[in-house]
């Protein structure tokens, strides 16, 4: 996988970490958003194989099975068994599906968090997270 991409992801993670340690609630939420972005890209980048096409099959309706799906640990075989001749041309679809789910979940949570921030402003009259200390002790 592209090392520069990994570096970008890590730096984004670092920036996100820096932001969630701030006092400003909006900055914290921005930090959470950035962390989410970083994690999403991370998941996509661990995809099992680097293809050259998006995982959308254009061709035949019924492809002939090429892989063997079986587990035989005693022989050191873990499903699926991919023959030597096969080279995968598609990107790993699973990680993309996972990230899609994660994006949606994080969208919902960010929305909730933002409105919570608004309500906190209403209650406390400030955006300073350090002022949220009525429950200490």
């Amino acid at each position: 996988m592209d090392t520069f991409l990994l570096l970008t992801i890590s730096i984004l993670f670092g920036i996100g970490t820096f932001l969630i340690l701030r006092r400003d609630i909006i900055k914290m939420i921005i930090g959470v958003v950035i962390l989410c972005h970083s994690v999403h890209m991370m998941i996509v980048s661990v995809g099992a194989f680097d293809g050259i096409k998006a995982p959308i099959i254009e061709s035949s309706k019924y492809p002939q099975p090429e892989y063997i799906f079986k587990d035989s640990i005693s022989e050191g075989i873990f499903a699926p068994v991919v023959p030597e001749s096969v080279s995968v041309i598609y990107m790993d679809p699973l990680v993309q599906a996972l990230v899609l789910t994660a994006i949606v979940i994080n969208l919902a949570i960010t929305a909730f968090l933002l409105i919570l921030a608004y309500r906190i402003y209403e209650e406390y009259g400030t955006m300073d997270a350090d002022e949220l200390r009525r429950l200490r002790g």
């Binding site: 006092r23 075989i77 789910t101 929305a111 909730f112 409105i115």
Partner: protein, 790 residues
């Protein structure tokens, strides 16, 4: 009747009726006391029924499987020792409940009172008959809890609350936990909870004594017993327990519950005794406690307090005597201890009942306000004198005999230990005896002799009715009877009990007059010194008061109050240190654990970092996007004003959409861009309602620290991801092959990402829409939580 059934009935009858008491009380009203007393009597008679068997030297042992998975049975084990304590519990219980019918006002919550007492009685009987240690512990803790409830019977008095809490912490808490741990250690050594098994097996006993855990086991079990019997540093709970109604004090805190610890010592005597640790711990604690408590008893002005300290001191006699066992003579002291245990129950209960009567009639318990009541309360006076003189060890009462035996045992043990103990231990014994004698006189002199204190006493004071005098009279009669005819208790009670402890049959001869011996000399010295001490006491008391004023820290209660009284404030300080409020402080641990989780394997486990391949073949246009991503992220971080920062974040989101295009993920790119649009809209909606900026001023050092932390986290993540993106380890293959291969075949879909979402992993998608659903409901709740409250 089947004997085990009788025993089980004797245990559970009180429990059963304790539950019924509140309902019965609605029917029989204030006569509930008599009803409860009847239960006590029935239990007593059931025990009488089985006593011939025990006197013959048999034991009743019967058990059923209860929690077999951990090897705990429910069983009964009746021998002389347990029967003795059970007789005390049920017999004195009966007398106390009868006495209480008159003592307790009808306005009190009688149902609760008798309920607790019956519960206690059942627990006590159950405790002594338990055949395994866990069962013993269960009933043991039940007695502590019922004691707690009874001490706090008058719940709105602050002293009751304090006393109840103290007794609970020290007996159920400290002692109970120590005992439980000790029991578990014992089981770890022997592999069983069953008491008769351990008692019967000589090889086990040898094993225990040679085991590494022996000292710990003995220590913990001893702590449990000492806490219950108010010995050593744990004595402090007993004086405060006197806040209970006086019959309760008589029953629990002198005659029965505090004997539980001694019972336990007697029970484990065959297991642990004969070792030096046993001698030092048990006898040593007893000897120290008897002197300290005797001394403290002498200076009490509250007669109930005086009796409390005297109880501690008397229990210490018994404790010391049980501890007197050396390698030479396993039964040394055991007879005397068991006999004194019985005697103490009789005379101390008598005295408590008298105190109850006096306090009831004269409306005070302060010895300075009392005095000269002998003419008005002649019968009470006689009974009280019998009790007090027995405690003082005056012949021909039973206390005299056991005191003599105590001296004898002390001399013997001293002799067997050699210099300097042959003088030291008898001396300590005599000092304790002197103090006992002095405070015994003080009770009689303070209440009944001397001048009547008209200033404080009510005009008319008289003997109470037969209901209150009866129980005390019966106990006093026993005191005299056992004193004049010591062979009665010896052959019927003490012999079986002692043989239950030393595990062999024994025949004891005792008589009131046993010739001129060293012990008799010691007794005479005791009486002489006792009178002198009592006469000179005022001087000692003054010195003591001075000392206490100068050194307030020289007291166990001081430390108890320091620890538990100020516990709330101290603990609050600690909790404030951790629960500081700002969320940043709570986020650090998460970040730190993340960092540590990478450092830990590298440093502690010193794993080898396997070589990896880097890939720097990035097209320039992608590089530009990466640089833009970082730039926008940094802008979002450093721009103080919200709107530009949000726009920067939004741009970042779109750029990430472009990265997804590079990664050949069209669905993701569309989703990312649309989701970013929506996020931005909500962001803008929110920041339009709050101030446009906050302008946090970050101190230099915090800035550097946070940057350092962020960089560390970033490199942590980088390191993990670098290895995680090295591809799937041989010989594994990704399950993605399945989706690529089967998608069209099984679902007919060409867009595999979508197929995974709606077919292969549709539960994830269902979960994801549930999160949206929940977010919508959550937002509703958020916005409506203020509702009408504004």
């Amino acid at each position: 009747m089947n004997l085990p059934v009788a025993v089980v009935l004797a245990i559970f009858l009180p429990f059963f009726f304790a539950i019924l008491v509140p309902y019965l009380e609605r029917i029989v009203k204030h006569n509930i006391g008599w009803f409860s007393a009847l239960i006590g009597l029935i239990s007593f008679l059931l025990l009488v029924l089985i006593s011939p068997e025990i006197i013959r030297g048999e034991v009743i042992h019967y058990s059923v499987s209860w929690i077999p998975s951990v090897g705990v049975d429910f069983g009964i084990y009746v021998d002389g020792l347990s029967l003795l304590i059970a007789f005390l519990a049920s017999g004195i219980g009966f007398l106390i409940m009868a006495y209480s019918t008159e003592y307790m006002s009808h306005r009190e919550d009688l149902a609760r009172y008798y309920q607790y007492i019956l519960l206690f009685m059942g627990s006590m009987i159950g405790m002594v008959f338990a055949s395994n240690t866990i069962q013993l512990f269960i009933f043991w803790e039940l007695t502590s809890i019922t004691s707690f409830l009874l001490i706090g019977f008058w719940r709105n008095k602050p002293q009751s609350v304090y006393g109840a809490k103290k007794s609970l912490i020290l007996t159920a808490g400290f002692g109970g936990l120590a005992l439980l741990t000790g029991i578990l250690l014992l089981r770890a050594i022997t592999g069983t909870f069953d008491i008769p098994t351990i008692l019967a097996d000589e090889s086990l006993k040898v094993l225990i004594k040679e085991h590494d855990l022996f000292l710990g086991t003995l220590f913990l079990i001893f702590i449990g017993a000492a806490a219950k019997s108010a010995q050593g540093p744990f004595y402090i709970w007993l004086p405060n327990a006197m806040e209970a109604p006086t019959p309760v004090s008589a029953f629990l805190h002198s005659a029965t519950m505090v004997k539980a610890g001694l019972y336990l010592i007697g029970r484990v005597h065959p297991i642990f005794s004969g070792t030096e640790a046993w001698l030092i711990m048990v006898a040593g604690t007893g000897l120290v406690t008897m002197v300290v408590a005797g001394f403290l008893a002498l200076r009490q002005t509250d007669i109930k307090g005086l009796l409390a300290y005297s109880t501690i001191s008397q229990l210490a006699y018994i404790m010391a005597m049980y501890g007197y066992t050396t390698y030479q003579d396993p039964s040394l002291g055991v007879v005397a201890a068991t006999y004194h245990l019985l005697n103490h129950a009789t005379f101390k209960a008598t005295l408590f009942l008298i105190v109850g009567i006096v306090a009831h009639e004269a409306a005070t318990r302060d010895i300075k306000k009392l005095g000269g009541l002998r003419k008005e309360m002649p019968i009470t006076f006689v009974i009280a004198t019998i009790g007090a003189l027995s405690m003082a060890g005056v012949p021909p009462l039973n206390g005299f005999l056991s005191k003599e035996m105590f001296y004898e045992a002390s001399v013997d043990i001293g002799a067997s230990l050699g210099q300097p103990y042959n003088l030291l231990i008898p001396m300590i014994a005599v000092i304790a005896g002197v103090l006992t004698f002095a405070y015994s006189i003080k009770i009689i002199d303070g209440i009944f002799l001397g001048k009547r204190n008209d200033e404080h006493l009510p005009k008319k004071v008289h003997d109470p009715s037969i209901i209150m005098l009866g129980p005390a009279a019966i106990l006093a009669f026993i005191v005299v009877l056992f004193g004049i005819f010591p062979s009665i208790p010896m052959s019927f009670i003490i012999e079986p009990a002692v043989s239950g402890i030393i595990l062999e049959d024994i025949s004891i001869y005792a008589s009131l007059w046993h010739g001129f011996t060293v012990e008799l000399l010691m007794t005479v010295v005791t009486f002489g010194l006792g009178i002198i001490i009592y006469k000179k006491y005022d001087a000692i008391a003054n010195w003591q008061d001075e000392f206490n004023k100068k050194h307030p820290t020289f007291s166990l209660n001081y430390y108890y109050d320091e620890i538990f009284g100020n516990a709330t404030e101290n603990a609050k300080k600690i909790s404030l240190k951790f629960q500081v409020g700002p969320i940043r402080a709570y986020l650090f641990p998460i970040v730190l654990i993340a960092i540590l989780s990478v450092l830990f394997p590298i440093i502690i486990l010193s794993v080898e970092l396997t070589p990896i391949t880097f890939n720097f073949e990035t097209p320039p246009y992608e590089l530009i996007v990466f640089i833009l991503i970082i730039t926008t992220a940094v802008m979002a971080a450093i721009i103080p004003s919200y709107l530009p920062a949000v726009i920067a974040v939004s741009a970042l989101g779109f750029l990430i959409g472009i990265v997804f295009i590079f990664l050949l993920a069209p669905d993701l790119a569309i989703t990312q861009i649309l989701a970013e649009t929506l996020t931005t809209i909500i962001f803008v909606l929110v920041i339009s309602k709050v101030p446009q900026t906050f302008k946090e001023k970050i101190p230099r050092n915090i800035l550097y620290r946070d940057i350092l932390i962020s960089l560390t986290v970033a490199s942590t993540v980088f390191l993990i991801m670098l290895y995680a993106t090295q591809g799937i380890i041989e010989p594994f293959e990704s399950v993605s092959h399945y989706f690529l291969e089967k998608s069209i075949l099984l679902t007919g879909g060409h867009n595999i990402v979508n197929v995974i979402l709606v077919d292969f992993r549709s539960l994830d998608t269902l979960g994801e829409i549930v999160v949206i659903f929940l977010a919508a409901l959550g937002v509703y709740n958020l916005l409506h939580s203020r509702g009408e409250r504004k």
